[in-house]
């Protein structure tokens, strides 16, 4: 098979990943590797499709396995094979792929890999220096190991929803499947450290990554305030336990959009004075916190959020527009950093993809291609990597192993 010379300078050139993971956490871990040059092969099936391929938004609102923007955004720079692991030949074929891979990623509940005979110990027989990361909700062991879940639910189980609510109200949590966008960084860090260890010693290993256990590390002092002081911290809306004003304030409508908001925060006296100066209200420095909040809200309500942000930031007050997804696409700072990548997809067309949030000065990320079609790379992977003959390939195709 050809070697893409542009790929050989990449950080993870020569690293190959068999990515069995689905939905958010796993694909976002392997995306870090793919966007920095690893050859990531997603292993999926049309018999039991990756759930995100069935989730909106769809181009033209037409559901289709190769038409989901949700799936696409998490799977840039990757390849994809279709393989039915329930087929009698499925597991044996999977192991032939894994034998050619450095890393296996998966995020099923633990019984799936056990049922297929694809635990770490099993897979070491075909690849002795393998690194494998398993990322179930609750880890590989323990009374809840077989429990299912979603990121939207796990944020509740990890204590994050308890801290995300209007004061005294029900714990609604964030409006996103939050832990799906939190724990991949921890999982990727563990995986990269294991890869570094292998680079130095030749030794692979298994990583049992319980998503809940990583997510608890995002609760700041919540645990210690309880274990040391016996206090259960409570949610404060947009607020902060030590600082006021510290909140979101409604601004003037923009066109017919009357849902424009600005975050204004004050952490010391100098910032309070600066805020009062910008508003032209010297009395603000002596108001009590509730009165000041009300005064700020009345002031912002008749002003444009972007204009307020500029004026406050220029005066040294930490403030920022509550940006919508549309605002992010027009954000000059994100544009300066080249956050969004426009990539062409065979069926979805020219679409925006999110790149990593950090910039490496010498080996920056490159999103090399749009998300793969289901089974797009079957011929390359099965023939060129695994080494199937044309006859064998056709045999498996006909038997339904590649469904």
């Amino acid at each position: 098979m050809m070697t893409d010379s542009a790929q050989t300078d990449k950080v993870f050139a020569g690293i190959r990943v068999a990515d069995f993971a689905w939905v958010g956490v796993g694909p976002l871990v392997s995306k870090y590797l793919a966007d920095h040059g690893a050859e990531v092969i997603r292993i999926e099936s049309s018999v039991r499709p990756e759930p995100l391929r069935r989730a909106p938004p769809f181009v033209n609102d037409e559901p289709g396995l190769d038409n989901s923007g949700y799936y696409a955004d998490f799977n840039s720079s990757k390849k994809c094979v279709s393989l039915n692991l329930q087929h009698p030949d499925g597991v044996a074929i999977a192991k032939r792929i894994i034998a050619e891979c450095d890393i296996v990623t998966e995020s099923f509940t633990p019984k799936a890999m056990r049922a297929w005979g694809m635990t770490y110990d099993d897979l070491c027989e075909v690849r002795p220096d393998l690194i494998m990361i398993s990322m179930p909700m609750y880890g590989l062991t323990g009374p809840w190991a077989m429990w299912q879940g979603y990121g939207h639910v796990l944020q509740a189980a990890a204590g994050i929803s308890h801290l995300t609510a209007y004061p005294g109200e029900e714990p609604i949590g964030t409006g996103v499947a939050y832990t799906d966008f939190l724990v991949p960084h921890f999982a990727a860090s563990a995986l990269l450290a294991a890869l570094d260890h292998r680079q130095r010693t030749g030794e692979g290993q298994n990583i049992d990554f319980g998503q809940m256990e990583a997510a608890i590390h995002a609760t700041e002092t919540m645990v210690l305030d309880y274990t040391v002081n016996g206090r259960e911290q409570q949610a404060l809306g947009a607020g902060h336990p030590d600082h006021r004003p510290y909140g979101t304030y409604r601004c003037a409508a923009r066109g017919d959009d009357d849902d424009r908001w600005i975050a204004i925060t004050v952490t010391d006296d100098a910032e309070l004075t600066a805020l009062a100066d910008v508003a032209g209200q010297s009395s603000w420095t002596s108001l009590d916190a509730d009165a000041l909040d009300a005064a700020i809200g009345a002031w912002t309500r008749t002003r444009q959020s972007e204009e307020l942000m500029e004026r406050l930031q220029n005066a040294g007050v930490p403030a920022g527009v509550v940006q919508t997804p549309e605002d992010l696409r027009n954000d000059p700072q994100l544009a300066h950093r080249g956050h969004f990548w426009m990539l062409d997809h065979p069926t979805m067309g020219h679409r925006a993809y999110d790149g990593p949030s950090f910039r490496l000065s010498e080996t920056p990320a490159e999103l090399t291609k749009a998300a793969p079609l289901l089974g797009e790379d079957n011929e390359y992977v099965y023939k060129d990597i695994v080494g199937m003959s044309d006859e064998e390939y056709v045999e498996h195709l006909v038997s339904g192993a590649f469904d």
């Binding site: 639910v153 409006g175 700041e220 902060h240 997804p325």
Partner: protein
């Protein structure tokens, strides 16, 4: 007394940590992975030692639970970086380090010797990670940001809260958490490259951009449908479609149960059977309802209007009757992924976490304190929680004496001159 110890995959490496609350978790994660992390703080103690809450609510730079949480597994050396001798010592420290993680404001970096080009020419093998609100360069580079400004500007707050009401944020700082955790990923990617070439590089981490990672499907939804996902309140929004309620009150607290508890979509039939088993399915077992809900299996778009209200009322009444543990364990038996909304006390009492040995006790002079344990279980090079957060300058002897080879007399004179 704590001593440097070797454990974990990054045990051969040393990190200089010059971070405030924006980046402290990054240094700690590297420490959790086994690296020796030296927190460099000003002679009077780091500003984050004054962030609450405090043990017993007494303000004391050695009793900040914020400091304890984010600085265990680190050593402390004091150093005045505004002083020329201090900068010389810092340079010697960097000579012996593999990583520098710092949160210096971009417009102050050059004066402290933390310019990107300066560090790259003086320490070419160093991986230098800067964590800043908006990135080291660009039109907003010198703007200030707290956590809320980060969650607002990065797009998370617009997705948190209820329609018509103010956008909110998790009260535990997620802008800082996201920036720190993603910075570790960037740092380790740069590190891997160094294992091949010997060359370090600069990793420029922006908090705002880190927060954009959290927007779920909102970015492609805007790109494809020109719809902004909004604040769903007690619910969820996917691809611009509002989903059903998901947090319900149980007899003893709350449960999280997506999509009206799974009463529509793939789990509808077994969920109705479960409610029926308790005699609480109301009319949902009727042919009419089953046909209606079967029609939703291929979609994530829920019923609306009166049907939605009926589903919701059914589930509200059901959940109130039972405890969280009973609801969630029965839901899990029918492969329906409900979860418990845990309070801090619930987490500490949780049998699953205990069974996995999650919590760790760390010895402080004042007490043994329970901390969250390692965030990944590596079979060959385990992560460890080795020791408590350091006192101010606790490891000056090790850092300046053992590492830099400075005599005890000189260390004393540096201390009396307030350089360290």
């Amino acid at each position: 007394m704590t001593t440097p110890s070797a454990a974990g995959p990054l045990a051969p490496f040393r990190v200089i940590d010059l971070t405030n609350e924006l980046g402290q978790l990054a240094g700690r994660m590297l420490g959790d992975l086994g690296a020796e992390v030296i927190k460099v703080e000003p002679p009077g103690g780091d500003e984050s030692r004054f962030i609450g809450p405090f043990r017993g609510d007494v303000v004391d730079p050695e009793q900040s639970l914020h400091w304890w949480t984010f600085n265990n597994n680190k050593l402390s050396a004091t150093l005045d970086l505004t002083n020329q001798r201090g900068q010389e010592l810092f340079d010697l420290l960097l000579e012996r380090a593999d990583f520098l993680v710092e949160t210096c404001p971009p417009d102050a970096a050059a004066a402290l010797g933390l310019g990107v080009e300066t560090l790259r020419s003086s320490h070419p093998s160093l991986v230098h990670t800067s964590i800043t609100p908006f990135g080291r360069e660009g039109p907003y580079a010198n703007w200030k940001a707290t956590d809320l400004v980060g969650t607002a500007m990065g797009g998370l707050s617009s997705l948190c809260g209820a329609p018509g009401r103010p956008p909110i944020r998790p009260t535990a700082s997620q802008g800082y958490t996201q920036a720190s955790a993603q910075a570790v990923v960037g740092t380790l990617i740069a590190h891997y490259q160094r294992t091949k070439t010997g060359q370090g590089q600069h990793v420029d981490q922006s908090m705002q951009e880190a927060v954009t990672f959290t927007h779920d499907n909102a970015s492609p939804t805007w790109d494809i449908r020109r719809i902004n996902n909004g604040r769903p309140g007690n619910g969820r929004e996917i691809g611009g479609y509002k989903s059903g309620q998901y947090v319900y009150e149980a007899a003893d607290g709350y449960v999280a149960a997506l999509s009206y508890g799974g009463l529509f979509g793939l789990t509808a039939r077994q969920t109705i059977e479960w409610l029926d088993h308790h005699g609480m399915a109301r009319d949902l077992t009727s042919e009419d309802w089953l046909a209606k809900l079967d029609a939703t299996t291929g979609l994530l778009i829920p019923p609306a209007g009166d049907d939605a209200d009926y589903l919701n009322e059914t589930l509200v009444a059901f959940c109130k009757r039972f405890t969280r543990a009973q609801l969630v364990s029965e839901a899990q038996q029918i492969r329906n992924g409900w979860g418990i909304v845990h309070t801090p006390k619930d987490l500490l009492d949780n049998e699953h976490l205990s069974d996995r040995g999650y919590w760790v006790e760390i010895e402080h002079e004042e007490a043994h304190v329970t901390y969250p344990g390692p965030w990944a279980k590596l079979s060959k090079t385990p992560l460890t929680v080795r020791h408590r957060a350091p006192h101010i300058g606790e490891h000056n002897g090790y850092v300046y004496g053992d590492l830099l080879g400075i005599s005890e007399d000189e260390i004393r004179s540096l201390a009396s001159a307030n350089v360290i």
